[in-house]
Symmetry: C2
Subunit: 410 residues, 2 copies
Amino acid sequence: MVSATSMGYDDDRASINLPDDKDMLSKVKQVMKEKSQLEPEYLVVVGIGGSNLGTLAVQEAVLGKFYNQLDPTTKVLYADTVDSDLINVIVKMVETTLERDGNIILNVVSKLGTTTETVANFEVIIDSLRRCKKEYGKYVVVTADEDSKLWNLALKEGFSVLEIPKKVGGRYSVFSPAGLFPLGLLGINIEHLLDGARSIRDTCIDVDIEKNPAAIGAAIRYQHYKSGKNIADLFLFSNDLESVGKWYRQLMAESLGKEFNKKGKKVNIGITPTVSIGSTDLHSMAQLYLGGPHDKFTTFVRVENSTSHIYVPRLGGYSELVSGIQGKSLKDIMDAILEGTKSAFGKDGRPFVEITLPDRSENSIGQFLQFKIIETIYLAYLLDVNPFDQPNVESYKRETRKILARKKKY
Amino acid sequence: MVSATSMGYDDDRASINLPDDKDMLSKVKQVMKEKSQLEPEYLVVVGIGGSNLGTLAVQEAVLGKFYNQLDPTTKVLYADTVDSDLINVIVKMVETTLERDGNIILNVVSKLGTTTETVANFEVIIDSLRRCKKEYGKYVVVTADEDSKLWNLALKEGFSVLEIPKKVGGRYSVFSPAGLFPLGLLGINIEHLLDGARSIRDTCIDVDIEKNPAAIGAAIRYQHYKSGKNIADLFLFSNDLESVGKWYRQLMAESLGKEFNKKGKKVNIGITPTVSIGSTDLHSMAQLYLGGPHDKFTTFVRVENSTSHIYVPRLGGYSELVSGIQGKSLKDIMDAILEGTKSAFGKDGRPFVEITLPDRSENSIGQFLQFKIIETIYLAYLLDVNPFDQPNVESYKRETRKILARKKKY
């Protein structure tokens, strides 16, 4: 592992040094400060895959899935894919705001600026912005690799720019400006996020493997993969962690799903990540998980402290429907369901581990994401694959370019 | 297959007769009319698994994921699991509305009324309603099996009641009042939904298998399962169809994931359903799908006509970022990405089928859901398992009850 204090970005494993980078943090905070002063009603994040999944994961985990519906100072919209109906809604919200002289911030995130969906959506949304605001440049922040085409266009247009270090790939970029700027603008404490990442990183690079949770996690997963578990379910007992699941899904799928191993041998290896939400998905997936094939390894995640405390009231006449819940907290009921599920898994020989997060704070979420990043890198080493490349995505992109070239323009 | 004209509900396959039931429809419309007159600002659906996934699927498919943020007459909230933070947000929205004399409708959906999460959330929310409204009964609609404890409580409390036929299980209940009432109250055309279901059902029970798309679909899936594909990915190229994916996930997981076959032999059989969204998940999962193990069968779903038409503008200086997209519609770009993906899958020997929906109308969505229901029933027959039971979910519920009995009350 790269020394945590070397502060370098010239190695593929560079991302683990992000939490130490004070220059990066101060640049992000400077742009955050400038853009906050515009009092934006919306932050529109244009980016897809590694360019927005970390932001979405942390935003929903810390601020909740209902964030936009709770009338925050700055709402957030994610323009990821080129779905006309999605982009239409976003453009309408943006234009309505601009037309009554409100402000938005447009944050375009793309390492090379050559992602089809991101560029298409960027052009659509900046077109609205240019029509409504004379000095449109000050509302745009571009997060990209230095000297990429997108970076150079941003400089020419007078947009703010934030750099993603070249060796930090999309799925490892949540602690770079790709995640930090939009999260900070929404009021998330990015120092605490980085503190959490830094503290668990130091534990996860311990050479004493017995004291290293990431090494232990990777070893357990590797053993179960070898014994035929080709599916890894991340079973999150918290509604607001669903997008953390989606972030992890990319991390595992892209880092471990490989046609060739590091020796160049064709192996078609990989573990398929799935995401379940407790207790919701017990009511849709438990029959398969407890009755179906023994092809899964499960990681249960529970959150020790919820921010809200709600109790089932003692209503006369209602107690006969389900006994034993009146007077109990929803939290206790949820915990009992998770305990019951673990017990049923155990009795049926279904393997699992459990991770308890103290809460959904920035620090805890930072720890969890950084832990999963390092665990995944270790698992790739055990599987003898390169966790930092994604060569097979080129095949569909090549086919898409050919087809796009034949489509007519309007 | 049950005759489509027999109109009976005394067979496990009863759900396919729901689209013909005029009495059910007229009862639902009568309650819809009564409750619409209260001009509710929120519809709160309390239910989990089969009791809300169909409603969520159709609502988001037809009205969009951004529905609540577009200021509709009646917003919708889903209280499914006992997540304190989720229920806290819902209770606050409900109480704020009631305190300024606005109205809500509370729709509790549970076949037997013995689901822990549903009863806990019902008690929490009705407690707010009782404190704010003297005649609270008129704001509550209970959808349940006739003569269940919940049904009888509803009659005693003066709530409206709607019946789920006893033989219609949760995952098959979207075309029963479980789905129809909340969807209708939100302005969805439930006649068109049922028309779609009815028309495809008549095709899908054709004894000429070559003309029967559900039989063909089941046979293809069965062959691929037999040849080692233990994962079925539903890859939906439309952002608003994600919850249709979640509905299907339950249908497949619970109907096919079985410990025992119909002869009582222990088989631990099942196919693990996964849901991907195009093009978003190409940027997180494509590396695994195209480089990883050959353990998946994919169903691509595309929507022929989007409601919105957006074109990439011809902005000077931006055309160099990605060539060939300016002047094209987002729809054309999305179609090209799907074509490119299919081409890459084909070249690498990754099996798939494609389903094209004409649009996201009620009729088209009704067709798709009904098609998947019948296909799944056929597939269960091929796998020699019972698609209508879910015996293994009892194991975690039993464990949960034991643990709950030990927890202290407050």
